[in-house]
């Protein structure tokens, strides 16, 4: 258990570093680039959508730490393409995807049905992205490249080798009923994540400047971390119901920065829960279920990217909370975490 906690801590620290480096390189290269929008789409496609096929690969091969370390090395490699934004997007995005799927699969596969460690692994990324974007014009790139190489070395040296689960003779093939149930649970979790991702890109608050922007990001990070531990302590259903209902009410008051930050914290609490639900639906394919949900994140990014009308109003945020809850409940009912 101590070994696995250590592994989660290393992956969480590396998650911060990788997302920091990706945001740092992207913002540095895309400052005034003409191909900014294309580069952004390419990056998000590689970083989020590619995790699904990579997830299938990690499930077959196991040993996610090598995928993660290779991802760190690729992100370091991306630094060389500072003046070729499209190449940088592809290389950094692919590196990011490899890192996430390797770490995510290993943490999911060793979390023993709990959600706490999933939240701890996932949450530092948001802060890394924020800080990387913030420091992109203020920091030389050499320390960032060095940090990526050190992250790769530490992951490889300190994280345990988590082998692929093989279908043994004692494991019966899934019956048709179980397969349909798993499909329904995954679909509900997938839709909940799509909607949460869409909400995340939609949120815009007048007060989100200066110190409040830092508070906002800290609430995202804290929400994801607390959500995992709350799910383990109080159960998924209670956590989802309480956090999303309270979140919806607070979003109605989100003109006030304190209420807005609290709403964002509560909104993010179901993040580790959806990961847990998906992993429980496909216990042999932790990597694929992780990748499937990151693909949902990519789909949630598209409406904002494509410039579809984005109603940035309080009642819309509250409605997103409520509808997310409507998707999470059937998923919970179908999974054994209810």
């Amino acid at each position: 258990m101590v070994k696995q906690r250590g592994m989660t801590a290393i992956y969480a620290a590396a998650h911060f570093a990788v997302d920091f480096a990706c945001a740092y390189f992207m913002y540095r290269a895309l400052g005034g680039a003409e191909a900014r929008l294309t580069a952004l789409l390419l990056y998000n496609f590689c970083a989020f959508a590619l995790q699904m096929p990579f997830g299938v690969l990690t499930d077959r091969l196991g040993n996610g730490r090598v995928f993660s370390a290779a991802g760190c090395a690729l992100v370091a490699f991306a630094a060389a393409f500072e003046e070729l934004p499209l190449m940088l997007s592809i290389v950094a995005g692919t590196g990011n995807a490899l890192f996430h799927i390797g770490g995510g699969r290993d943490v999911l596969a060793t979390s023993g049905g709990k959600a706490g460690r999933l939240g701890a692994f996932v949450s530092p990324g948001a802060f890394g992205l924020f800080l990387g974007a913030y420091l992109s014009g203020r920091l030389p790139s050499a320390p960032v490249i060095a940090a990526m190489c050190v992250s790769a070395a530490v992951i490889l040296a300190a994280c345990p080798c988590v082998k692929a689960k093989r279908a043994g003779a004692d494991q019966l093939p899934m019956s048709r009923g179980v397969r349909i149930k798993a499909l329904l649970v995954l679909s509900a979790a997938f839709l909940a994540v799509c909607l949460r991702s869409y909400g995340g890109f939609l949120f815009s608050f007048d007060w989100k400047t200066g110190a409040w922007s830092w508070a906002f990001v800290m609430c995202v990070v804290l929400g994801k971390t607390l959500g995992g531990f709350a799910c383990d302590r109080f159960g998924g259903a209670l956590t989802a119901a309480a956090s999303l209902t309270a979140g919806a009410v607070l979003f109605l008051l989100s003109k006030n920065p304190v209420a807005g930050c609290a709403a964002v914290l509560l909104f993010n609490m179901t993040m580790p829960l959806t990961l847990r639900i998906a992993a429980d639906a496909l216990p042999q394919d932790a990597g694929f279920s992780f990748g499937l949900l990151t693909f949902a994140l990519f789909l949630g990014f598209l409406p904002t990217y494509l410039g579809l009308p984005a109603p940035g109003e309080e009642w819309v945020y509250a409605a997103i909370c409520a509808v997310t809850l409507l998707f999470i409940f059937p998923a919970l009912r179908g999974s054994r975490k209810a």
Binding site: R60, A70, A73, L74, A76, A80, E83, L84, I145, A152
Partner: protein, 122 residues
């Protein structure tokens, strides 16, 4: 493009492309197929960029002396052989002789890479 960045992009891309091609062909000759080849690819993506970045930084920026440069390249190659062998060892079901395989593949890619460099230069 900045000349140093151009050099870095070319070194990294050519080196990674060549290494992948040579090591995958080497692995095929060694009888590796399917998943084992994917692992060889992954391991090279892991070791090649840091190795090239380290050799460019150490030889070009820190010690621009030919003798030190050769020693540094040897040390980096040795580190790459060790890391790759250790990674192959963790997939023991696909790689029965990880140290031998790592040494053979890296030696092949080093020798062929150097030969190609010489052919291009002269």
């Amino acid at each position: 493009m900045n000349p140093f960045l151009r050099f870095l992009v070319l070194s990294l891309s050519i080196s990674l492309g060549l290494t992948l091609a040579i090591e995958i062909i080497g692995a095929l000759i060694a009888g590796k197929r399917g998943r084992a080849l994917v692992i060889v690819l992954l391991v090279n993506v892991l070791t090649n960029p840091p190795a090239v970045l380290a050799s460019v930084c150490i030889t070009g920026l820190l010690f621009p002396l030919p003798a030190v440069e050769k020693l540094c390249i040897l040390a980096i190659e040795a580190a790459v052989v060790c890391v790759e062998a250790l990674v192959y060892r963790s997939w023991w079901e696909y790689f029965w002789h990880p140290w031998r395989l790592s040494l053979a593949l890296n030696a092949a890619s080093f020798v062929l890479g150097t030969l190609m460099q010489l052919l291009i230069l002269f």
